[in-house]
Point group: C2
Chain length 262, copies 2
DNA sequence: AACTACGTTCGTTAATATCGAACGAACAAT
DNA sequence: ATTGTTCGTTCGATATTAACGAACGTAGTT
């Protein structure tokens, strides 16, 4: 997956592809990475790596620690990332609703989209009490074991989904994680019917959440929202009520994005 | 500046450089951009542009609107931008102090760093009353006419500064904007002496701000903070007091970043 | 219906990125 | 001190690779 040579398909610019993978590798490291290590990570020689890396550095996409000589992500990525966020209606529109929902239950609320079969968190509102929920805006989680993930892939055309997940193994995180395709498929069917998805300790122990889809003007599921909390607290609240509230909030956002007939 | 061929210096990977400039061009557009337009923007043929653009698209750095065929920034940039922010101590450390300062004066507070002679805003805390202050986290402003900018370049080695600004004209934004080098130089000297910088409608009419430097463990000026507000309100507060408070807040952040002898 | 502008594809050619080898510096171990 | 290792960096020859112009299909417009 990190190896640079495994990209079938049409014509693409090799050096650009390699440079991007290097940035992603550095991001995965979560800390400064040496040039040799980066080269090893993407499967390229030191000198090739150096050429690409120094180009990225000169443009501000990565920076070199003058003390250690190692590399980390650069400011330009932050700038462009914020420019991306600024261009999204979704985030702006959703935020007040997320706040409202979070305030009602005193729990953390997330806004997420699908990317290459994974879930990426676009925004969140932390609940005042929520301790232990480890999520990061901009972070990436698997779809098969999260509430937002199940909602999002339940809206994907089954044939495309089959293709996307072909050969992929579903990683187990807890004893409740669904790891076989048949169980997941029937669960997705249920999600489509009721309109929301539960995740009861499928990703993290002691963590529950309910999620619902957000649709845009073109009738596409553009995102999903979820409310997450410790299993104990979530058990003691009216589950029907929470699910209805999450669903209702998602529909309000959808309508504001131009979705009709919610 | 956007033309792709004007990069002197060492060896760098042409196609990577070009691809990065394309992303930056799209970001500058603030909206979807067509392929032909992007090509024109960076000075490349349509087919070359297409190769680079489609590579970026396949990796998620830009995306193509299926309806219009036009391109905008992609989710991956947001992910990496957030990863960059997560790796910064600066932001995390500063936030509580920024909040405190903002709350005391009910005005907007900014945290910014220097990048290629410009100011880039890393974070901000909006005041409850501040209307009309147009700033965006991730946004870029000129250094010569902003409080944070003057603070940041006052700490740059004068020879390097001279080199960085050689030939550059300082754009005029208001009637108070300093546009000649000599005046700016003497102003920077004053900033170094008193430790903070005022901007009184040099960038935007009716907008004042005070800024002070944040230093890190290696004695380098790593960032600057500022407090901004409408000229009227800022005039009616004790200016000595505000400046002292901003300076003091900056020093507290500096100390927490490992700076000694503040 | 003709026309324009767009995104896309393709083949050739020359420009360009790639790689191995070698260098100097920093650091650790002996 | 000295040796050995590891790191980031530089360089030049070679072959891969990306660049370009021209042509295609498709929308939307005149």
């Amino acid at each position: 997956m990190l190896n640079v040579d495994d990209m079938g398909g049409d014509r693409y610019i090799q050096s650009v592809f390699r440079a991007l993978k290097m940035m992603e590798y550095i991001a995965e490291c979560r800390q400064e990475a040496g040039l040799t290590e980066i080269g090893r990570g993407v499967g390229l020689s030191k000198s090739t790596t150096h050429g690409l890396i120094s180009t990225l550095e000169r443009c501000g996409y990565i920076r070199q620690n003058p003390a250690t000589g190692k590399y980390s992500l650069g400011l330009k990525l932050f700038e462009l990332g914020q420019a991306y966020a600024a261009g999204l209606d979704l985030r702006e529109v959703a935020l007040p609703y997320l706040r409202e929902l979070s305030a009602r239950y005193q729990e953390t609320v997330h806004l997420a989209v699908l990317s290459e079969g994974d879930v990426v968190y676009i925004d969140k509102v932390d609940g005042p009490l929520s301790i232990g929920i480890r999520s990061r805006v901009g972070g990436r989680n698997p779809a098969h074991c999260t509430g937002v993930g199940k909602v999002l892939i339940s809206a994907v055309d089954p044939k495309k989904l089959e293709l996307l997940y072909a050969g992929k193994t579903m990683k187990r995180f807890t004893e409740h994680t669904v790891t076989d395709w048949d169980t997941l498929r029937s669960e997705l069917q249920k999600v489509r019917e009721v309109g929301y998805a539960w995740d009861r300790e499928e990703f993290e122990n002691e963590l529950w959440c309910v999620a619902a889809p957000v649709r845009d003007g073109s009738d596409t599921v553009a995102a999903a929202i979820s409310l997450s909390g410790p299993a104990q607290r979530m058990k003691s609240t009216d589950r029907e009520q929470v699910a209805a509230d999450v669903l209702n909030t998602a529909q309000k956002i959808s309508r504001q994005l131009g979705y009709r007939d919610g």
